[in-house]
């Protein structure tokens, strides 16, 4: 199947996800979910893990025109397994028409995806489950007030990393962990780059097996910036090289966008309150240099790798 989305004007003009949800203003996760849902469509069941997006469906309201199943924080991929297997069985035994089939889509935050739910995700990939997995990565336990998670970037201030150097750990490379399982498809996306996102969802949709999408989700309250800057910060994440847009397909990692020239990372960092301590009261040059060096090293690997 060839991609039908090639230009901005090919993006769906009908928007499927309802408005008026409990998500915060400027939520980067919701932005990407809107874009993903427009491409995936309503013949889907979103199997949700505990996180911000759990609050999308609060009795008796839902923004989804398709189906929804909330599970728990750790086991949404297992929920997708149960739904997928049951639909296969029902169709094979002739108890439902093939037209009643649905795509199982796991919807999870980084807290579940990078940590508690990683074992269930690994299991689902290894069982070659035919499903889509969408992680909105706001780089912390956002729903509980942005404590650091395994997705938190080095030096970020969170509710549980308040020291002068912020979070001492390093963001886990979930893309590489997923790709190591050799699934059908893996991609990073961001709502601020809707064309790149739509092309990847289109590609994921055309494949079978485990397909995993990692969406960086700029988070106004968690990252401490004005909601109106959400798109801009997303773009800066890409243009500074902090958030590489790439995909793993047919055994190879391909970058779908190589920022050139790359903007300095501090253009991205200084727009967010969670990194303010790197600039005020005085600039923390060594730490800024360390962050820039890590991004440079990544892209050196890409460009020469």
């Amino acid at each position: 199947m060839t991609d039908v989305i090639q230009r901005m004007k090919d993006l769906p003009s009908t928007h499927l996800l309802g408005t008026g949800t409990a998500m915060c203003a400027g939520c980067g996760g919701l932005m990407s979910l809107h874009e993903v849902y427009d491409v995936l469509g309503t013949r889907t069941v979103f199997v949700n893990a505990a996180g911000c997006m759990t609050l999308l469906s609060i009795y008796p309201f839902t923004p989804f025109r398709g189906s929804w199943l909330y599970t728990a924080m750790a086991s949404a991929p297992a929920g997708a397994q149960g739904v997928r297997d049951a639909l296969d069985i029902l169709i094979r035994k002739g108890r439902i028409q093939p037209g009643e089939d649905l795509t199982a889509v796991v919807l999870t935050g980084d807290g579940a995806a990078y940590g508690m739910g990683l074992s269930a995700t690994s299991g689902a990939i290894e069982r070659n489950l035919d499903f889509l997995y969408l992680c909105y990565d706001n780089e912390g336990y956002g729903n509980t007030g942005q404590q650091y998670s395994p997705a938190t970037p080095h030096a970020a201030l969170t509710a549980t990393s308040r020291g002068a150097r912020g979070y001492p750990g390093y963001k886990k490379d979930l893309f590489a962990i997923w790709a190591a399982h050799k699934p059908a498809y893996v991609a990073t996306v961001i709502g601020a780059e809707p064309l790149d996102l739509a092309k990847k969802i289109e590609k994921a949709k055309s494949r079978k097996g485990p397909r995993l999408i990692l969406a960086l989700a700029p988070c106004p309250p968690g990252w401490d910036f004005d909601p109106q800057d959400s798109v801009e910060i997303g773009r800066l994440a890409v243009r500074t090289g902090v958030w590489p847009l790439k995909e793993y397909v047919d055994g190879k990692v391909v970058h779908t966008h190589v920022p050139h020239p790359r903007l300095p990372v501090e253009d991205y960092l200084k727009r967010q309150g969670r990194f303010r301590h790197l600039f005020e009261p005085t600039r923390n040059e060594p730490l800024l240099a360390e962050i820039q060096a890590a991004v440079d090293a990544y892209w050196t690997g890409v460009e020469h790798g």
């Binding site: 309503t42 013949r43 069941v45 199997v47 759990t54 609050l55 469906s57 609060i58 009795y59 839902t62 989804f64 025109r65 398709g66 189906s67 929804w68 199943l69 909330y70 599970t71 728990a72 750790a74 086991s75 949404a76 991929p77 297992a78 929920g79 997708a80 397994q81 149960g82 739904v83 297997d85 049951a86 639909l87 296969d88 069985i89 029902l90 035994k93 108890r95 439902i96 037209g99 009643e100 089939d101 649905l102 074992s119 269930a120 690994s122 299991g123 290894e126 069982r127």
Partner: protein, 415 residues
């Protein structure tokens, strides 16, 4: 009907096979593993149609089980002990989905210390979850109860998952003669699963298991689940009668053995109740009017039946194969709460803890328990709760301690 020698585990697998289950999410754990191995063989050779999938944990296994049930297929799964506890978040979560399926739990003592043989703390940890609980004493009961459980859980008035419990080793690994019902008779008794409006279909989108805001909506759904579980008492009696008509075997909610005229009644669940039954016969021969009451249903709790069978009895000995730390026996607590304040209830309801981690309860201990409650009834005084442990056991344990100390000294550790 064919009678064949089956382990309790094989009887559970046969129950699932005869119920024509579509889907088995699995995870191995001793002493339950034989169930999933048996089912895997049948799915593998085409004797069952559907799918068995091994998940990466019991937590995921329960999630997949309930998600499949919520999509509209008949689901069977099984676990034990630590596995049940690992799945605990989902045990509580999925009961509220109102998507029925059957979970066989093969009881095994909980860590610590880590052990393999049976007691009922694992089962009782799920007591307040919304799962219904049927507790079995024999292999035949295990098979029959799996069939009863599907019909009970799937009833439109109930719509709840059901745990069918057996004891690890004593029931799970013991071969007993089991009558295998004819598949056609099972189909008459248990019609195909009707998921009603709990299912996922492209043409009829639904949101399941959504969050609520506020205690009002939360209470509404919790009360609904509770009332459905209470309703299961009525439904159980109906289906047990239907089962008896179809198969000629009677599985009442609260079984009583020679208790009608009994002066003292043993009250217990599970495989060791068959030892109590034997003790009742011996005591009767010795002139003691003993009886046995064995609840098969723990949830819903058959309060009225308990009161009926225990009405007018001078003394009850509750033998708990479980221990609520800092309180005592769970069945004793529940029974006294059910009897308190009612007319004509036993004045003495004594508590005994025994059979933890598969520890035997010997005939002599049953006689000793009988003598204790008889004296208590005569005095009109309930004795203090007792933890069964013999002098011989203590001596054996002291030997183990002596070896531990000796070895440590010998190897120069702990210095």
């Amino acid at each position: 009907m064919a009678r064949t020698l089956l382990t309790g585990n094989a009887a559970a697998a046969w129950g699932a096979r005869l119920a024509e289950v579509d889907y088995v999410p699995a995870f191995p754990i001793t002493p339950q593993t034989e169930i999933i191995e048996t089912l895997a063989t049948w799915y593998g050779n085409g004797e069952m149609s559907g799918r068995l999938v091994t998940l990466e944990s019991e937590h995921s296994m329960l999630t997949a089980a309930a998600a499949a049930a919520a999509t509209g297929v008949r689901v069977f799964t099984a676990t034990s002990s630590q596995g049940l506890l690992y799945a605990m978040e989902m045990i509580y979560t999925v009961a509220g989905w109102r998507a029925p399926f059957v979970l066989v739990n093969v009881s095994r003592g909980l860590a610590s210390p880590l052990t393999l043989e049976s007691d009922h703390n694992d089962l009782l940890s799920t007591r307040d979850s919304g799962f219904l609980q049927i507790v079995c004493a024999t292999g035949q009961e295990v098979l029959d109860s799996v069939l009863l459980a599907y019909r009970l859980g799937e009833d439109a008035r109930v719509r709840l998952p059901v745990i069918v419990n057996m004891d690890g080793f004593t029931t799970s690994f013991t071969r007993e003669p089991v009558e295998l019902p004819e598949p056609d008779a099972v189909r008459r008794f248990l019609p195909p699963f009707d998921p009603e409006n709990v299912r996922f279909r492209a043409s009829k989108p639904v949101s399941q298991a959504v969050a609520v805001l506020g205690g009002g909506a939360y209470s509404y759904f919790r009360y609904e689940t509770h009332l459905a579980a209470r309703e299961a008492l009525t439904v159980y009696d109906e289906i047990a009668a239907a089962f008896e008509r179809e198969f000629g075997r009677r599985h009442v909610a609260v079984e009583s053995y020679r208790s009608e005229d009994a002066d003292i009644v043993f009250f217990m669940i599970g495989a060791f109740a068959t030892k109590a039954q034997e003790a009742v016969d011996r005591l009767r021969e010795a002139g003691v009017k003993a009886g046995l009451v064995r609840p098969r249903l723990l949830r819903p709790y058959p309060v009225a039946a308990m009161r009926r069978v225990l009405s007018g009895k001078p003394a009850v000995a509750v033998i708990d194969q479980n221990l609520s730390m800092g309180k005592g026996g769970v069945l004793h607590t529940e029974l006294t709460a059910a009897l308190y304040g009612e007319q004509n209830m036993p004045p003495v309801v004594a508590s005994f803890i025994g059979g933890l981690g598969g520890r035997d309860i010997s005939s002599e201990e049953f006689y000793e328990i009988a003598a204790t409650v008889q004296q208590a009834a005569a005095r009109g005084e309930t004795p203090a709760p007792r933890l069964l442990f013999t002098g011989t056991e203590l001596r054996q344990f002291k030997k183990l301690q002596a070896i531990a100390v000796h070895e440590r000294n010998e190897l120069g550790g702990g210095s």
